[in-house]
Amino acid sequence: MIKIEGVRKSFGALEVLKGIDLTVERGEVLCLIGGSGSGKSTLLMCINALEGIDAGRVEVDGIDVHAPQTEKNKLRQKMGIVFQQFNAFPHLTARDNVALAPRRVLGQNKVETLELAEHHLAHVGLGDKLDHFPSELSGGQQQRLAIARALAMKPDYMLLDEVTSALDPELVGEVLDTLRLLAEEGITMIAVTHEIPFAREVADRVAFFHQGVIHEVGPAKSLISNPQMERTQEFLGKIL
């Protein structure tokens, strides 16, 4: 379970998060929606400590993420993160991209990690691209590679930061299909997304961000079809 309490975060004079409270249960899919610069992506980074926080508390399975004594590298192992930019390691094949962290971080043996990589790549539909380098893959394939790479660490949580935003429209579908698959498997996901129909279909709950504040949280279907707050109505009205 992820518990976020009163989280504040500024970059210089700009306050990006102005007191965020949010709880995510195991197995839940939560989508964060809202305009650009509303703080959604920053919140994801604060959850796995890629960014520090100025005030408040983030707790993952009872561990205070931002406490100085917390082993952040260890914590991140159970929270996969995928970014808008695919960030496939360009010097490694698809297989080695996926095998790198299990081998170096978890210390598994080489043969084991290569098999693991093959398994996860097949899972996201890249079973025939094992020896391809990222430069030989399409954007959608690179993004699925990034998802497989995160899954190979057997995370309990997946943090997805606008994973389809940098894709050509015709490639968005294949990545969303992969995410649907994960949702069905019951992986806890927090996804920042602009794909409102996807959020409505896959998410259990949706949180609407505006200027560093969560204006509305609720079950995906009801929030999207019947938003209560004026800001939410305005945003959804523009985007749908």
């Binding site: 980074m45 796995n48 890629l50 590298n73 260890k74 991140r76 192992q77 929270m79 996969g80 993160i81 970014f83 930019q85 960030n87 390691f89 360009p90 010097h91 490694l92 094949t93 790198l100 962290a101 170096r104 971080v105 380098f133 990222p134 430069s135 990034a146 790479r149 995160a150 660490m153 943090l159």
Partner: protein, 225 residues
């Protein structure tokens, strides 16, 4: 007897060959230590500690601004005055290493900066420690993007080794040995063409060696980042 003839002899050729060997060794040894020191300096500047950044930056500026020939003489004299005279070769190699390290440091910094911050975040997000991320992601990607610049530095270094002559290091390196022969036989054009050919062959050797290395990467994945 040979020293009295006014024509190019087999001994002269051997002298130039020996000079070329010295030049090559000077380049390899100071290139190695210079790259090692430069790597540490460039890495140190990437850490985000402002005082370290400016301190190392000052070192780089000084070393790059003072002519190498002055550095050779100053360092050698300094050791002598301090009471620790060492042979001109060693002092020359140390000076060359420090000199090229300043340039390598800038290349290393550029290589580290060439790795997109989100790539680093992706690696850290997988649970890698700072050093694991540096070793397995930043270094391989950065190296690929700056290897051509580094090769250029090494070729420049090879030609700069000729300045070690001001220390009177013996046996002489390639340019000095050529000058010795020219003084005797008064055929500057032919000898300098010969010396140039030696330099070319050695530079070409380094270039080809690096290119081979790069090709082995090209088949192992291009870096577009």
């Amino acid at each position: 007897m040979n020293n009295l003839t006014l024509t190019f002899t087999a001994n002269d050729f051997m002298l130039m060959l020996q000079g070329a060997g010295i030049t090559f060794v000077l380049t390899i040894v100071s290139g190695f230590f210079g790259s090692l020191i430069g790597f540490i300096i460039g890495w140190g500047r990437s850490l985000g500690l402002w005082w370290l950044y400016y301190l190392l930056g000052l070192f780089i500026e000084v070393v790059r601004s003072v002519p190498l020939i002055i550095q050779f003489v100053l360092f050698n004299s300094f050791l002598a005055i301090a009471g620790y005279p060492i042979d001109p070769f060693t002092s020359g190699i140390i000076t060359l290493s420090i000199y090229i390290a300043a340039y390598v440091a800038e290349v290393v910094k550029a290589g580290i900066d060439a790795v997109p911050p989100t790539m680093v975040k992706a690696a850290r997000g997988l649970g890698m420690s700072y050093f694991q991320c540096f070793r397995f992601v930043v270094v391989p990607i950065g190296t690929r993007s700056v290897l051509p610049s580094w090769t250029g530095l090494m070729l420049g270094l090879m030609k700069d080794t000729s300045l070690i002559a001001v220390l009177g290091a013996s046996p002489p390196e390639l340019l000095r040995s050529s000058q010795i022969i020219i003084t005797r036989i008064q055929e500057p054009l032919a000898i300098l063409i010969g010396a140039g050919a030696f330099y070319f062959i050695m530079c070409h050797f380094i270039t080809v060696a690096v290119q081979r290395y790069e090709t082995s990467w090209a088949s192992k994945g291009k870096v577009t980042a």
